[in-house]
Point group: C2
Chain length 354, copies 2
């Protein structure tokens, strides 16, 4: 079968490999759509980050490089392994890429995100840029008929956004600001509104990205390079600023913007991974009892994401900027998302059937 494998930094290859065999407790999925994630791009440009190259990951069945990438996928179940009772051949499904050990101190506390040997499909386990993939049955979620395969490939990134809003303990009618309107920022705008936010604002430095945020109905897009973002938020909210700020951009300056646009007692949620340290005035944070939450991935937010997409409360059509076949995934996918025109793209979907 045709697959996309990570071999090394800037070395990914579309190639032919044997179809995977389904083991006990596992499910085989014929992939319909698989989205390219920002984490895939990091692994391509700066990896190995999650991919193992010298020492294997402890998860039984895990792979070292070369490994099949892709973890935002939907498809059909074509085979189930021995002992699988909750999933049947023909089920329309999505796959949660995280595989916890269920045995460590954190798994026993149901904090699967903290699992000390968490494995992630698409990095240490063969993923969804492939005609077929195999995963443990506990990672498989059925989707309703009202949810198309195409839209269902957004369940995984939307689960990240739902997790962030859930961890924030958003209250009804809260004023929200989202910093950075890439895929996760845009889905966070929609998740926050679906989960009860009042007014939602966006902060974005790239004018090319204003349009989609506006299409999703934000009150205003603020460019912190053009105006004082804190003063602008104050002006737009009778001086109150935002109750919740979701930082989905990444550079250190974004954390300082988050501090400025958050109101008294506000909560800042760091959703993006911040690579560089930030010279941060914790005394200012303390002065008005603000909180910094971090949100990484998800635990059990797949059902919520499925529900929000199935009935259209979260709309992903404005986010899809290209649909391509597996043979084009390097040039029209990874290279498009790392080249000069990268900010014209939001989400690129890949299908092995195109």
């Amino acid at each position: 079968m045709r697959v996309l494998r990570w071999h090394g930094q800037k070395d990914i290859r579309v190639e032919e490999v044997p179809e995977p065999q389904v083991g006990p407790g596992q499910v085989k999925v014929k992939v319909k759509w698989c989205g390219i994630c920002g984490t895939d791009i990091h692994e391509y440009e700066a990896g190995p980050l999650l991919v193992k190259v010298t020492k294997p990951h402890p998860l039984p069945g895990s792979k070292m490089a070369p490994v099949i990438m892709g973890h935002e996928l939907s498809g059909d179940v074509t085979e189930v392994g021995e002992g699988v009772t909750n999933i049947n051949v023909g089920d329309r499904v999505v796959v949660r890429p995280t595989i916890p050990c269920y045995n460590c101190y954190y798994c026993k506390r149901s904090q699967y995100v903290q699992c000390t040997s968490l494995g992630t499909i698409g990095y240490i386990w063969d993923g969804g840029f492939a005609e077929y993939m195999v995963a443990p049955s506990d990672t498989i979620y059925k989707i309703p008929d009202s949810l198309s395969y195409e839209v269902a490939s957004f369940v995984e990134p939307l689960a990240c956004a739902v997790h962030a809003v859930r961890r924030a303990k958003l209250f009804p009618g809260a004023t929200v600001a989202v910093i950075g309107t890439g895929p996760i920022g845009l889905l966070t705008i929609e998740a926050a509104r679906t989960m009860g936010a009042g007014k939602v604002f966006a902060l974005e430095t790239l004018p090319a990205r204003y349009q989609v945020a506006q299409k999703l109905g934000v009150e205003a897009v603020i460019n912190p390079l053009e105006v004082d973002a804190g003063k602008e938020m104050a002006k737009l909210t009778d001086g109150l600023r935002a109750d919740f700020v979701f930082e989905c951009a990444g550079p250190p300056a974004a954390m300082l913007s988050a501090l400025k646009v958050s109101g008294r007692g506000g909560t800042i949620v760091e959703v993006g991974q911040m690579v560089e340290p930030c010279q941060f005035p914790f005394g200012t944070l303390w002065m008005h009892e603000k909180t910094i939450i971090t949100s990484q991935g998800y635990t059990d937010e797949f059902p919520a994401a499925i529900a929000f997409l199935a009935d259209g409360r979260v709309s992903v059509a404005p986010l899809i900027t290209a649909k391509i076949g597996l043979d084009d995934v390097i040039k029209q996918g990874f290279e498009a998302l790392t080249g000069e025109e990268r900010y014209n793209h939001i989400k690129i979907l890949v299908s092995p059937e195109l």
Copy 2:
């Protein structure tokens, strides 16, 4: 009557002023004991910070400098103003120094700490380093007979510690680390244990301060200048480190220690005000979904603090390093707490009756 008034930076004076008159809705208290707080020392050394010198505070009845300091006080009610029904002459009481407006956006949400015109007794309202003081009746809390006036003067700082532990949402049996063992750090050790902590550790760089923390029964005192605090915590906790870290010290290095000694999914609570910014690796915070809470003062934690002190679950005897009269408050109080021997002191109590 004899009082201690703040006139300017490093200019505080014991002097004679007329006894205060009780107005409608107010209560007059004969002061028994009043503790010297770290915030008093900041105002003495680096003020005006909270004291008003050019423009009055919006609270009706507030004072500009010179103002009577002191806000950790206990005493007897000697007079009640018109309309006061919940407090009677002869009641043994403590006074909550914060006076919210009850009318702003935040007060309406019961977030009194965020009140946009919060007034604090001892800075913008005449306080407790005096024979008598007058306060609005809603700031007055009765204390039980089992609680001595001396111990009751700790209700206010203990309320800060209870507020911090409460905001952290401490779970039963949680491993706790407290950074900095000044008065608030030590009370936080006791508050955390009283509110259900498991093992409690202390981090302290001053060997002179080890003893009291040990007397309060911490598992171990770690000196981050002598050992790698993160590795030491890991060694002492089977690799898990602390679920909750209370940062009660203040320097930027303490936030980096907090990050190191906190475990996966851990919560860091900034209790002390951090004056300088800190070069902080938010990516590391994000990696294990850690949270930073800030805790400033208290809202309704006076009843809890009274209960914990009244039945002895929180013991303050080891914290009292001097008991002095009002006439000695400058030399034996403020100068002792700013001089070379300052770290030999924890809490100095002042009585106008000595």
